[in-house]
């Protein structure tokens, strides 16, 4: 493969930025702020949602065993009841994710889930043959799922170094050996179609097909440079992410079939919900260093009102740009975006090349652009 110098430089730069981020952002004091993101598509008039059936298009589970290059593959036969249980599990996960957003009210009815497939559902909607009249829209879907576990071994040449003594003229030889490296692996793929249909007037609001995969391997021949790098960054993410500390994150533990179905479905459902609902998420922003330490401590502790009081008195005496930025950050945290923008601008006026101040302004610009949309979408739902 041939890469242009520019591309290589860009990627290497990204990697360096990434490494620096780990060092700098990892240690820098941060504040967690909750922000609202508008729905990507217009779901005007939809307040009450029911969850329909998640039809199984394809489910397969298999186990592979390899010894000396000979493979034995065993497909696990799933009964209709087991397939239905998986479908119900996916549906339950979606109910769970949707239930967490205040944007929609869930109507708990099995009326739509009992139908055989999507065509039957659309027919029922078109004919208005449903009893749950308070429902505004239905979410249903289709599942493709495959899981495979493998037990085998890699065969690869390895160099073993033998050193005797270690002095200048001592014996030092490298011996080539063929090594069998046993491994176990697991891979899963869930492709999920999710469809939202408005009942009156009947309209398909959104259809989303998303895939999530999982692949894990323990043992096997040593990874190359890239493999080592990706596995190191993955371990790092596991250690700092939302699931940190969970036993499933250990490299030595494989998730159960049910756990994996749940993880894959949650991720896809979360992504779908972002398309159709205002979502609230927590983001981390950096607190500026070099300002009033007491105010910084108050912000770190989440005492924004007290932080504002403190910073207002500090900045009345001396307009340190870091204090002005932190004042803006405190206002942003309590949702006073206009004031936040004013103080970020004040900080930037005093140090125009500081990226952190420009980022503050950039965030407020974006919030103010999206705010009318979020406000409109939320007010429609509360009417």
């Amino acid at each position: 493969m041939v890469y242009s110098n520019k591309k290589i430089l860009t990627v290497l730069y990204s990697m360096l930025v990434f490494l620096l981020l780990l060092l700098v952002v990892g240690c820098a004091p941060k504040v967690n702020i909750s922000v609202q993101i508008p729905a990507e598509i217009n779901t005007e008039g939809i307040k009450k949602v029911a969850i329909g059936k998640f039809e199984v298009a394809f489910i397969e589970e298999s186990v592979q065993l390899e010894r000396n290059g000979n493979w034995v593959i065993k497909k696990i036969k799933l009964t209709e009841a087991q397939k239905q249980a998986i479908s119900d599990q996916v549906r339950a996960k979606i109910v769970n994710v949707l239930g967490a957003t205040p944007y929609f009210s869930l109507i708990y009815t099995d009326e739509f889930a009992k139908l055989e497939n999507d065509a039957a559902l659309q027919e029922m909607i078109s004919a208005e043959g449903y009893k749950s009249k308070e429902v505004d829209a239905i979410i249903n879907g289709k599942i493709w799922l495959e899981m495979q576990k493998t037990d085998g071994s890699d065969v690869a040449k390895a160099e073993m170094e033998y050193v005797q003594g270690g002095g200048p003229n001592s014996l030092s030889v490298t011996v080539d050996k063929v090594v069998w490296w046993p491994y176990k692996s697991m891979r899963g793929n869930m492709t999920l179609e999710m469809k939202m249909t408005r009942l009156v007037p009947t309209e398909v609001i959104a259809i989303n097909l998303d895939t999530r995969t999982f692949s894990h391997r323990t043992g096997g021949k040593p990874a190359g440079l890239l493999g080592s790098f990706t596995s190191a960054t993955q371990s790092l993410r596991d250690g700092m992410g939302a699931n940190k500390g969970k036993i499933e994150n250990s490299d030595a533990v494989y998730p159960s079939f049910e756990q994996l179905v749940s993880d894959l479905a949650t991720s896809i459902a979360t992504n779908f919900v972002r398309r159709v609902a205002v979502t609230e998420k927590v983001v981390s922003y950096q607190i500026a260093e070099g300002g009033d330490p007491q105010a910084k401590m108050l912000i770190e502790a989440g005492a924004y009102e007290m932080g504002i009081e403190r910073l207002q008195s500090v900045t009345a005496r001396e307009k340190n740009p870091n204090d002005l930025y932190n004042l803006g950050l405190s206002f942003e945290a309590i949702g006073e975006y206009g004031l936040a923008g004013t103080f970020y601008n004040d900080a930037w006026e005093r140090d125009k090349e500081a990226l952190i101040f420009a980022q503050g302004i950039g965030r407020i610009e974006r919030i103010l652009r999206e705010y009318p949309q979020v406000k409109r979408q939320l007010s429609e739902k509360s009417e």
Binding site: L12, L21, N169, V173, G220, Q234, A354
Partner: protein
């Protein structure tokens, strides 16, 4: 081995540090592009008949000459069903584009949602799908030559010997010398051909000519990388034209992005599925292959008939005003516009470019076009301005 690993990582860090001063800053934004074909008078889309065709030949990729090698697989005869997944991807892509109202997403006669609007303005998508899939789990008889190397030599001599050894051993192993050991492998091959038609529901007439799209995939894990069950000539073309594997650079960039995201926005991290473990040494499943091929053909087709969104990554002109650059890096485009507009005129080319880029990032295309055109005229047609014009002209 640990020593080698540390040496490699060290080398990587040195390279990274040495290039930081040359690296560029990037602006990322979403752009909506119009459909590649002119679609007149269509307001709604319905899925029509998506039919699997089994037992027919899928043509080999363009560029494959005469197949002389005697490998197991030399043709692709459709043997599996893929229509349901192609349908799902097509309708999902159309929904994302947002150009059309979707009135039937299943293809079933009973699948129409509500009253069918003016039938003359309804486009029905029909498709004939040929899909071939083959997986092989077996072993290659691989030859291994094992040597003992004396390390008690000066470094330059050791390097020369190591180089010669690598070449000689490889050549000997290829010619069948050494220990013969079965090395397990998994090889997966897929090919799809879809003939899409978009017809008007009122009269069944084609709105665009039939679109025939093909996609191929081959991948092998383990075994002898020089050996394949697929004819050499076909494999070479597929790898050159249809390889969807991420390059090393993509992998590194993605890793950086994921790790930054887990720190800044953990919800987005989960929504994107970045918390799920990924190991490229685990062979793909049949479903992975199906999904790759179906999504590729669906994406290619929907871009022909519907508007679509793409993420653009554009470099900021590094010779521009540093304060303007800092604002752009902080995504403060509105402020950057105000600042750059306030600089004394005439602006130099880099500032004109950054100003145009800031307008483009805000979605203010007429102003962006104005500055890109100014830059193009003042620079005697620099490529970056021409690309900008191409992006924002609509």
């Amino acid at each position: 081995m640990k020593h080698n690993y540390l040496k490699n990582m060290g080398l990587l860090v040195v390279i990274l540090i040495s290039v930081i001063s040359c690296a560029k800053d990037i602006v990322t934004f979403n752009v909506t592009k119009p459909s590649q074909l002119q679609i007149a008078e269509v307001e709604s889309i319905a899925i029509g008949n998506f039919e699997d065709v089994i037992g027919e030949i899928i043509p080999l990729p363009e560029g494959v000459g005469k197949v002389k090698s005697k490998n197991t697989i030399r043709t692709f005869k459709s043997n599996k069903s893929l229509s349901e997944m192609v349908r799902a991807y097509v309708i999902s892509e159309i929904s994302k584009g947002g150009q059309y109202k979707i009135i039937n997403s299943t293809g079933e006669e009973t699948g129409f949602s509500g009253v069918i609007p003016n039938m003359a303005k309804v486009g029905v998508i029909n498709a004939r799908i040929k899909y071939y899939e083959h997986a092989k789990e077996d072993n290659d008889k691989k030859f291994f030559i094992l040597l003992i190397t004396n390390n008690g030599m000066p470094l330059e001599k050791r390097l020369i010997i190591a180089g010669l050894k690598a070449i000689a051993v490889k050549a000997a192993e290829r010619s069948g010398k050494g220990f013969k050991i079965p090395v397990p492998y998994v090889e997966r091959i897929g090919a799809v051909e879809v003939r899409f038609d978009l017809v008007r529901k009122s009269n069944g007439k084609k709105i665009i000519p039939t679109q025939t799209l093909r996609f191929y995939n081959i991948k092998k894990w383990g075994g002898d990388e020089d050996v394949s069950i697929l004819a050499r000539e076909i494999k070479k073309v597929i790898l050159a034209k249809y390889d969807v594997d991420e390059s090393i650079l993509d992998v590194l960039t993605e890793e950086a992005r994921k790790t930054a995201l887990v720190m800044m926005d953990s919800d987005e991290f989960i929504a994107k599925g970045y918390h799920l473990k990924q190991n490229s040494n685990v062979p793909l499943l049949a479903l992975d292959l199906k999904q790759t091929l179906a999504s590729e053909v669906a994406k290619q087709f929907t871009r022909k008939i519907s508007k679509y969104h793409v993420e653009e990554k554009i470099e900021i002109a590094d010779g521009g005003d540093p304060i303007g650059i800092s604002l752009m890096k902080g995504n403060a485009y509105d402020k950057a516009i105000g600042y750059l507009e306030s600089l004394s005129k005439p602006l130099d080319l880099d500032n004109v470019y950054n100003l145009a880029l800031s307008y483009e990032s805000m979605g203010e295309y007429p102003q962006a076009l104005n500055y890109y055109e100014q830059g193009r005229d003042a620079s005697d047609g620099e490529e970056r301005f021409k690309f900008g014009i191409k992006r924002v002209k609509r």
